[in-house]
């Protein structure tokens, strides 16, 4: 039951993009095409899930044992950056097709605040390791959902007859705001 709660909360109610406003940069940057949006979504899901578990282990068995929790942010960034590099290396060797599909988005994740945000929030919520993994995965799932929704809206906006002053980012930001309000409606779900 707990796990289902975490999934629903992370995907809909506390969607990291629409209600916590993390990961806005890729949300606006790569959401102009459905193809790139799904590519980025898959890459983020992969890295966030792995990063959540590894940061959890480091927090519990290194930082808390040595009483240096204040180094959390720096250590977590180190973990995420190395992890992204590692995943890139492995993918390049084992699955070139997946590597090509993810392309430049993989290294971009290093600077995606959603990965760090999820890792730190997991610690704050005192999740155990399974809950952490589920939380990381569902957070990224929510991010992917946001990206795919935005991409489908923007693909339509591309061909729409729009006033010059609203073309491009102004209208994208308005659309993002409206979607965020819509997602706020989910807060009554639980």
């Amino acid at each position: 039951m707990d796990i289902v709660n975490i999934i629903i909360a992370n995907v809909f109610i506390n969607n990291y993009v629409f209600s916590r406003f993390l990961g806005i940069c890729p949300f606006l940057g790569v959401s102009n095409k459905m193809e790139t949006a799904t590519g980025m979504g898959i890459a983020v899901t992969f890295v966030t899930t792995l990063a959540s578990v590894i940061t959890h282990i480091i927090q519990k068995y290194i930082l808390e044992v040595a009483n240096i929790e204040y180094l959390q942010t720096i250590v977590f960034i180190l973990v995420i950056a190395s992890l992204v590099q590692f995943v890139e290396l492995v993918l390049k060797k084992t699955s070139p097709s997946l590597y090509n599909a993810m392309g430049v988005y993989l290294p971009l994740i290093t600077t995606n605040c959603i990965v760090l945000g999820v890792a730190i929030l997991n610690i704050q919520e005192n999740y155990n390791i399974i809950q952490t993994a589920v939380s990381g995965f569902s957070a990224a799932l929510g991010f992917t959902l946001a990206l795919v929704l935005m991409a489908s809206v923007r693909e339509k906006l591309e061909v729409a007859d729009i006033h010059e002053s609203l073309e491009g980012f102004p209208l994208t930001l308005i659309a993002a705001g409206l979607m965020s309000i819509a997602f706020a409606g989910f807060s009554g779900l639980m």
């Binding site: 480091i58 290194i62 040595a66 240096i68 180094l71 720096i74 250590v75 180190l78 973990v79 190395s82 590099q85 590692f86 290396l89 492995v90 390049k92 060797k93 084992t94 070139p96």
Partner: protein
Amino acid sequence: MEITNIIQPILILGGIGLLFGALLSIASKIFAVEIDQNVERILNVLPGANCGACGYPGCEGLAKALAEGKAESNACVVGGQKVANDVAKALGITASEFEKNVAVVLCQGDCDKAKDKYVYQGIEDCKAQNILADGKKECPYGCLGCGSCYDVCAFDAIAIINGIAIIDREKCTACKKCIEVCPKHIIELVPYESHAVVKCKSEDPGKAVRGYCSIGCIGCKICVKNCPEDAFSFENNLAKINYEKCTNCMTCVEKCPTKSIVDVTYDLIKEENKIAG
């Protein structure tokens, strides 16, 4: 305050960093991917414009195809003979002969010579105009003059003069972008060495062409009869030159009664004079 409180975190953080660094360097050895040296060398000699005229996704795509032997050394249409030679050198093979093409707009019906059927006031885009009753010109084949090709040309080779697109032979690199964008399909690639070109695409009978354009091909077949090399074919009321047979004798250019066959080298000079005057 004890000194260990400072040293311990430094050691732990440094240790973690060192551990990850070591893991990454080991991983980079284990998961090392061999990169084809040829690809990089070829990529260096290609123009790097990523225009896609070769049919591959960007210069890197072509470089890969070249390294695998899937493409000819003259595949880069923009680079010309020089790039073909460089590529051949990088691959260690003899260069293929590069045949230079240029794009030509096959229409001369400018504002004075071709009649309009309505006044177009929509957005300046050929595709948009074409949707509205096949464009403003009475001739359903002619250049619409809205400059969609001009917008897409990356080499600044196209000008719109008096309602008609003209391509500069010297600047054109045959990247085919204008050919793709033209809704009337009246831009075609012609060998650079061929100077005589039928600048009309109208497949209407002569009487109809005469009615709406003073410089269109009326299908009189004078060029077909007079060509000493037998380079002309005649289909759908339109003369067509076989550029492989053409010897640039210019008989057709002289004989054509409507001047729809032109010497493209001379034509350019004429147009330039018109701008100056």
